[in-house]
């Protein structure tokens, strides 16, 4: 039962139990098999906070209409909400008070939940139902019941969010949470609904000369020195290492038909590939 002073698990590879999990050898020995796709028929769709929610009825109503129509046409999806201006306000406040990144992540998590609840109220009659991180395992139930699961885009990191080399703002926000959820689910695809046609060489709201980029790769975006991006930087890093989600699509929800086209597999907006 005890070997080298330790209680052993019978039948388990000794090499495995004898090394720390930091060992290169053990990590290579435990290299993954082909991982299963958990919900391969489901899209994960993020509704932008600042770009959509903060525009109110004028933007949100038509987008929800388009999404509900897609659902009636048999498209299966989970809706995730971004944060937006209130998240920026609370980050400003936290930064003014010299709060650590973990605390900022905790603060920033509240706003996407508010937005998700707004979306749930608006879509309840079409099956909109809140799905909290603890309930992710109930997704098959929600989907099979014909519901429209709505989540906060934020990952559940909160106090456990890591400090970054530069700046105190949490690196994992709603774009990252949505990507990671889709990657875990082995989802059919990830769609980010924003208020721009996609990615530009600079912020098109501030620089009218910014050029539209219809298709690019994660490594190109990470290496070209561009200061601003339309998705969180960590998403690009994650997708280069991810197993399932090797493509993201960003569409303009304000232009009617773009969401539907993307869900039909058309190349609208910007496509980023790993």
């Amino acid at each position: 039962m005890k070997k080298d002073g330790k209680i052993w698990i019978d039948g388990m590879d000794n090499a495995l139990s004898d090394q720390s999990l930091s060992g290169h050898a053990i990590r290579e020995q435990l290299a993954a098999r082909d991982t299963v796709a958990v919900l391969p028929d489901v899209w994960v769709i993020k509704i932008g906070g600042q770009s959509v929610m903060d525009r109110g009825r004028a933007a949100v109503y038509p987008i929800l209409e388009e999404l509900v129509a897609a659902k009636k046409n048999g498209v299966n999806f989970i809706l995730a909400a971004g944060g937006g201006t209130r998240a920026r306000h609370v980050y400003s406040l936290g930064l003014d008070l010299n709060m650590p990144t973990g605390m900022l992540a905790r603060l920033g998590a509240s706003v996407p939940v508010q937005n998700a609840r707004m979306l749930q109220i608006l879509t309840a009659k079409h099956g909109g139902i809140m799905c909290y991180p603890e309930e992710l395992e109930k997704l098959p139930f929600f989907l099979n019941a014909g519901c429209l699961p709505i989540t906060s885009g934020m990952p559940p990191n909160e106090f456990w969010e890591k400090s970054q080399a530069e700046g105190l703002i949490p690196a994992n926000r709603t774009d990252a949470g949505v990507y990671l959820m889709a990657e875990f689910l082995g989802a059919k695809g990830v769609l980010y609904i924003k208020d721009e046609d996609g990615l530009y060489t600079d912020d098109p709201k501030k620089n009218p000369d910014a050029e539209f980029i219809p298709e690019t790769t994660a490594s190109e975006l990470l290496n070209n020195g561009q200061d601003d991006l339309i998705v969180e930087r960590v998403v690009l890093e994650y997708m280069m290492r991810g197993d399932h989600i090797k493509k993201l699509q960003i569409v303009n929800g304000l232009k009617q038909g773009q969401i539907t086209a993307a869900l039909n597999g058309e190349d609208v907006g910007t496509i980023i590939r790993a």
Partner: protein, 279 residues
Amino acid sequence: MSELVKGDGRTHISSGLMRESLVSRRLLKETDSASVKSMVPDVNMICVGGRSIMDRGAEAIIPLVDTIAKLNGNHRMVIGVGGGARARHTYSIGIDLGLPIGGLARIVGGVEENNRDILQFLLAPHGGITFVKDHFQDLQLFLKNGMIPVCIGQPPYHFWEPPSLEAGQLPDNGPDTGLFLMAEVMGAMSVIYVKDVDGIYTEDPQKNPDAELIREITAKELLKMDLPDMPIERELLRTLENARTVHQIQVINGLKIDNLERALNGELVGTIVKSSRAK
């Protein structure tokens, strides 16, 4: 900071980050601070190894529990614990089944909960209580009442565990990293990893008796050495490098019973790993 700003179709709240994408590098740099505040700065995070201590059973656990109980009046402590052999078994089965990394991260904490419950049971006569995620902000309540909060280490990324940087497909984030991250928000006085070796060696001391014990090193240097094995997680080193409120950790041998008290008193009894940011 509370004025509402309209005019571009969106309703903003006036603030330093208004209209910003929060992705801009230039902007992120401006959000740094040299004086990040701590939540519970007078606490010590004691990280008890799963494989190195818990799997040794009574022989290693009881003396450690007695030491923690004895030190409780003089030092405020949070006790965290890893999974050990059962965590390895979980990964081994999970990977064979083809579970994605988020699935592995979701289930591995279950075996740490066993270890937390064992330590809590043993420490209960001296004030041991379970300390769970949702009570993070109640920490002062426990400490001011002389209690010894005991928690698991695995950070609650669960299904949201990022794809790994390291070889294979195991989560980079384990209990060492999770406990450090809690300590960083607390701004803990010290973070001590209680293991069954005297510290970090240049090589495996069991295989090479000439291996040298490293006394003090930066996380950056240690990462660069790329040791084939280490008593702490590599992700802990990357996390320590970027941390703002905690600038060093110490790895000690918990089988030598005086070590914990000496480390709490600031002595170097094992290996100290520092962030390059440390002054």
